[in-house]
Structures are given as structure tokens and as C-alpha cells.
């Protein structure tokens, strides 16, 4: 079956303009058509009452099993706080050289850190996380170039320091991966 491009699977309430812009930006970054579909599953079963967070590994499996068929790459966009067993939180994760990833806006909001909300900044941060995770799905590893989107980030200020695009080295590797896929 011919792969139809990149699919954004959306959980929770995102503004239409936010998603439209995201679709355009992902299309520009990866040169594949992007489609947006809602996540129709109830995610409550993935909630961990002890940690008051959602299990990112299981959500990744859900997106992969029920939404990824037919797409080159699929990424779930979540509103909720994500964790994996060993870490207190994550912004997102992806199957390295796989087809699926997930990302959350929850910890990207300024309000989480006692600062005034900033929708523009939130979008910029989320765009970088989504591109970063898709980069992993295309086989890119973390990069030490300070402005490269593949630079790892463990807090939001890390994300703010980098740009939303790939450095020359990562861009060349992505180019190879895009043609291979």
C-alpha cells in the first residue's frame, strides 16, 4: 500500500488555527503532505492515578496500533501530562527509525512555571518538540549543535534556546532518510 504522508493524531482541544499552522510547518520541514485526524479513543485507561500522569509508552502503542496504518509517519499530539516508568515526565517520544511518535503541550505552557501564558511561545515550543520527535522517527539522533532542533532538551528553556530547523548535518541525514522512505 502506498504511504500517504505524515498524520497528526490530535487528542483534546487544540485551536484549528494552531493545528493548521502545525500541519503547514511539518509539511515544510519534512516535505510530505500532512493530514490531521482526531484521536477518538478514551484515554482515561492510560491514566496512572498514583503519578497523576498518562503512560506515554501505552499511548504510543495506541497511536501506533490504531492510527498509523497507511501513513509514512504518525505523531499523536496530546494535551495531557506524559510519563514513562523511569522518568518523572517527558515532552514527547518516538520510535527511533520507526513510524510513530507522541508529543504533549502540557509541560510547555508558561503557566506550569508560574509565568504568564504565551500562546505564540507555546506554539513555537510545541512545533520544535513535534519536529524533534519526527526527526527520531526518521532515524536522526540527538545533535550537539546549539540551535539544531535535534538538540536534546529536558526543560522548556532548552527548547527555547534551539531553533525549529535542522543543522546542515542533520538536514543532510534527513534528506537521505526522506529519499529512503
Amino acid at each position: 500500500m502506498e504511504k500517504k504522508g505524515i498524520t497528526l493524531v490530535v487528542q483534546g482541544r487544540f485551536e484549528k488555527t494552531f493545528l493548521d499552522q502545525m500541519a503547514r510547518d511539518i509539511e515544510t520541514a519534512f516535505e510530505w503532505p500532512v493530514s490531521v485526524v482526531p484521536l477518538t479513543h478514551d484515554i482515561l485507561p492510560f491514566f496512572d492515578a498514583t503519578r497523576k500522569q498518562y503512560d506515554a509508552n501505552r499511548l504510543l502503542q495506541l497511536v501506533h496500533a490504531d492510527y498509523a496504518a497507511g501513513s509514512l509517519k504518525t505523531i499523536g499530539l496530546f494535551q495531557v501530562d506524559l510519563f514513562i516508568p523511569i522518568l518523572t515526565y517527558i515532552f514527547g517520544q518516538a520510535q527511533y527509525k520507526g513510524s510513530t511518535g507522541i508529543a504533549s503541550v502540557y509541560r510547555l505552557r508558561n503557566e506550569q512555571y508560574g509565568m504568564a501564558g504565551n500562546e505564540r511561545l507555546l506554539y513555537e515550543r510545541f512545533r520544535k518538540v513535534v519536529i524533534h520527535e519526527l526527526g527520531h522517527a526518521f532515524g536522526l539522533i540527538h545533535c550537539h549543535v546549539p540551535i539544531c532542533v535535534m538538540r536534546p532538551g529536558t526543560y522548556v528553556e532548552d527548547i527555547d534556546q534551539k531553533k525549529h530547523f535542522f543543522c546542515n548535518k542533520c538536514a543532510a541525514e534527513l534528506e537521505l532518510a526522506l529519499h529512503k522512505d
Binding site: 515544510t28 516535505e31 509508552n57 510519563f83 514513562i84 516508568p85 523511569i86 522518568l87 518523572t88 515526565y89 517527558i90 517520544q93 518516538a94 520510535q95 527511533y96 506550569q112 512555571y113 508560574g114 509565568m115 527520531h136 539522533i141 540527538h142 550537539h144 549543535v145 546549539p146 540551535i147 536534546p152 529536558t154 526543560y155 528553556e157 532548552d158 534556546q161 530547523f165 543543522c167 546542515n168
Partner: protein, 447 residues
């Protein structure tokens, strides 16, 4: 010599092994897993691992016993023990037995990253030998720094010399010369490159905000501080802090900064716990700090503390030979980001750029090229696509006759040798313009 660091994860929980495996593989490490101590020891005997991340609590042989056996087999192995039970006794025992460090599950992503980077740094220091020390340094990650003029070669040589050291650096240069790029190049070529480069634009923040940004704050330190927050100095532990527009900070902040630079210790705003952070400092300014010291608006002791090495970036007007290369670079950059075919620049437009004095330096040139790509014809950048005001008199020592010739030529090029439009712009009639073209022996490049 092996360049990739290898990690062995030992944990009886599959979800923990999988999560750690994915986390490290994305960092470019070589990763393997074992579900128990027996399997782990078998792997270690047949293969060399740089870092072993082992759970303490496992069925059968526990992590502490396994650690002792690993050390007996390979004393150089770096073992980090992890446990879900934060007991001081087990931590102390593991450290006594020579464990590199100890971490409690679930980890903060930042703590895990830091721990592994520290271990990686130790390995890299251990592997460093005389051959490596004497090897010629080649700068990495300087793709954004364009130019092969003498001035830029000197700057890059200084970057190469200063990067491996831990000295403070002040980067000076007019606005738009690319001071932040040089700071990034120093960081990316230093032993600190695996740790963060944290940038603070001092000029954009008020005194109170800057204090909170640099030092962090405790919950309740001021109205709106609902959470504890790490400051930039704390975030940069192991890495570099880049303070842009350092000349704008207040006298009070200068004192605070000096104190931190001397002790590398500070407290968060509203807190009383001393925090230690190991960072290198790089500053940038377009002001004359020495003059500010003489005038009393910048502390002399801070100036000498910061100004261990000074790198001055020449303005673009002093390295005009770099302009064609910069133009090509920016055309490629913006055509790619706008998903357009690569375009060229015509000779008249390039000549005009080379004549221009660029008060806004490389940033101004970059903006001009971006604008020209947007407003242009999609094939080449023409003179009329460039927003350069004619400023010939102030730049020139030419006679009136020469000035007239150049001015008419530029106007004709701007309007593609359309005589009517050029005459209108020059506010002369067409006949006069023809006469002047004849007088100055001007000719259209198309003829």
C-alpha cells in the same frame, strides 16, 4: 579507537529497560540490555561497556553484588546504580564499593541526562592521550560563520585557541556582526559542548527579572512565583552561559555577577540554600567597556574578571570581500526555508552591496537578501529589489562629474535602463538623460 559510548542497562523490569533503551539510543549511544545480573555479567565478559546502569533490587543476585563482580573483572567500568528505594544505606554502600553515582527512580530527565554526560566526560578525559592533545584542532559547527577575509580568519583562529580553555571571553563588535554565532562556536568546540549553552539577553530584561532569570527563584519569592524555578546559572551546570549585551546590566547586578564568578556559588531569589554550578562565561557587547570603566558605569573588577580573552569581530564594511560569499549563503538559506528554487544575484546588485557601508552589518545584509527574495522576480536579485538608499556623497571622494556619472548609471540599472522611468526619477527630461548617457559614455549591459 571506539568513538561511541556504550551503555549496558540491567533491570528486571522490561518497561524500565525499554524506556532507558529508547532514551539513550536517541542520544546516539550504543545500548544493550540485560534482565538480570547473570545475563549482564555474561555480556560484560564478552564485550566492553563504558557505562553500566544497574538496578539494585533484582531477583537472584542483587545490583550491589553484581557491581562488586563487575569491578573485580573490569575496574575501569563506570557503574551507576539505580533503585526505587531511596535508602541512604544502599547508596553509601554502592559508592563505597566504587560506584560512579547513584540515582533514585523515577528520575528527573535533567538529572539522568546530567549523570550520563558526567560519566561520558570522565570517559572522554580518560581516553585523552598525548596524540589527541597534539592533534590539529579543526573547528566544528561553524557553518553559520561565513567569510574568508583576513579579519574573519583571525576571529576563527582566536575561537580555535580559546575554545578548549575555560577562560571567560568578551566578544565585542558592532550590532549585527554575529557575536552570538561566535559564542556558539566557542561552546561547540569546547569540552563543555555536551552540556547546555544558555543564552541570556541582558538588555531585554529588567533588573528584577534578570536576577530571577540568572539565579532562579523559590516558590513564593515574589507575587506570581508559584513554583520553584532553576536559574540560568544552575541550568548551565557543566556548560556555558552567554550573556549578551552585558553593558546594560545595573551596578547591583554587576556586584552579584562578580560574586558568582568568584565563588561559582549563589542562592535562588527567596531561597537560602547555596547552589554550586560549574559554568564558563562568555559575554558580548557593542559598547566600549573600557570607556565605561573609565566613566564609572562599569565595575573595573568585573571588567577584568570577564575580559580574560577579547575577540573583536570586524564590521562588514571592513571585510567587504566576504559579501559575495555571504550573499550566496543567505540566498541558499532563505530559498531553502521558503521552498523556492535557488536564485542568483545580478552583477549591478552585487556591486551595489559591495559599495554599501552596512551600518547594521551582516544582520542588515541578511534582512536585505531575505526581503529581495520575497519581493523579487524569483530568478535573480536585481538592484531594484534591494532597499538601499543612495548614499553616494558621504561615501565618496569623487568629483562632481564622477558622482553624476555614477548616480545616473545606478538609476538606469535600477530601472533596467528604462529611459522614461529613469528620467522621471532623476527629475530631468528624456533628451537631457540621453545627452548625459552620451557624455558619460554609459551603455546598457544588454547591448
Amino acid at each position: 579507537m571506539k568513538t561511541t559510548i556504550s551503555i549496558l542497562i540491567v533491570d528486571d523490569e522490561e518497561s524500565v529497560r525499554d524506556s532507558l533503551y529508547n532514551w539513550f539510543i536517541e542520544d546516539g549511544y550504543e545500548v544493550d540490555c540485560a534482565a538480570n545480573a547473570k545475563d549482564a555479567l555474561a555480556k560484560i565478559e564478552s564485550e566492553k561497556f563504558d557505562i553500566i546502569l544497574a538496578d539494585i533490587k533484582m531477583p537472584g543476585m542483587d545490583g550491589l553484588e553484581m557491581h562488586r563482580r563487575i569491578k573485580a573483572f573490569d575496574s575501569s567500568a563506570i557503574v551507576i546504580v539505580m533503585t526505587a528505594f531511596a535508602s541512604v544505606e544502599t547508596a553509601v554502600q554502592a559508592l563505597k564499593d566504587g560506584a560512579f553515582d547513584y540515582i533514585t527512580k523515577p528520575f528527573d530527565p535533567d538529572d539522568l541526562t546530567h549523570l550520563i554526560r558526567n560519566a561520558a566526560r570522565q570517559i572522554s578525559l580518560r581516553n585523552e592521550n598525548e596524540t589527541l592533545k597534539n592533534k590539529l584542532v579543526t573547528l566544528e559547527n561553524i557553518e553559520d560563520i561565513v567569510g574568508n577575509s583576513d579579519g574573519m580568519i583571525r576571529v576563527l583562529k582566536e575561537v580555535e585557541n580559546v575554545a578548549p580553555a575555560h577562560s571567560s571571553v568578551i566578544i565585542t563588535g558592532e550590532s549585527g556582526t554575529g557575536k552570538e554565532l561566535i559564542a556558539r562556536a566557542i561552546h561547540s568546540n569546547s569540552p563543555r559542548k555536551f552540556f547546555p549553552l544558555v543564552t541570556v539577553h541582558c538588555g531585554a530584561l529588567s533588573e528584577d527579572l534578570l536576577e530571577s532569570e540568572l539565579f532562579g527563584h523559590e516558590k513564593g519569592a515574589f507575587t506570581g512565583a508559584m513554583f520553584n524555578r532553576k536559574g540560568r546559572f544552575e541550568m548551565a551546570d557543566g556548560g556555558t552561559v552567554f550573556l549578551d549585551e552585558i553593558a546594560t546590566i545595573s551596578m547591583k547586578m554587576q556586584i552579584e555577577l562578580l560574586r558568582v564568578l568568584e565563588s561559582k556559588m549563589f542562592t535562588r531569589v527567596g531561597g537560602n540554600k547555596e547552589i554550586k554550578s560549574d559554568f564558563r562565561i562568555i559575554c558580548a557587547t557593542n559598547k566600549d567597556l573600557k570607556k565605561m570603566v573609565a566613566e564609572g558605569s562599569f565595575r573595573e573588577d568585573l571588567y577584568y574578571r570577564l575580559n580574560v580573552v577579547n575577540i573583536n569581530i570586524p564590521p562588514l564594511r571592513d571585510r567587504k570581500e566576504d559579501i559575495p560569499m555571504l550573499v550566496t549563503y543567505f540566498i541558499k538559506k532563505y530559498c531553502t526555508s521558503m521552498s523556492r528554487d535557488l536564485i542568483t544575484i545580478d552583477q549591478a546588485a552585487l556591486r551595489r552591496l559591495e559599495e554599501y557601508h552596512f551600518p547594521g552589518n551582516v544582520r542588515e545584509l541578511e534582512n536585505m537578501i531575505e526581503r529581495a527574495i520575497v519581493v523579487g522576480n524569483g530568478k535573480e536579485i536585481r538592484l531594484k529589489d534591494l532597499p538601499i538608499e543612495t548614499d553616494m556623497v558621504s561615501d565618496s571622494n569623487d568629483s562632481l562629474n564622477e558622482l553624476e556619472k555614477k548616480y545616473i548609471q545606478k538609476t538606469l540599472e535600477k530601472f533596467d535602463w528604462n529611459i522614461s522611468r529613469s528620467a522621471k526619477a532623476l527629475q530631468i527630461d528624456r533628451v537631457t538623460l540621453y545627452n548625459k548617457i552620451k557624455k558619460h559614455q554609459l551603455s546598457s549591459p544588454r547591448k
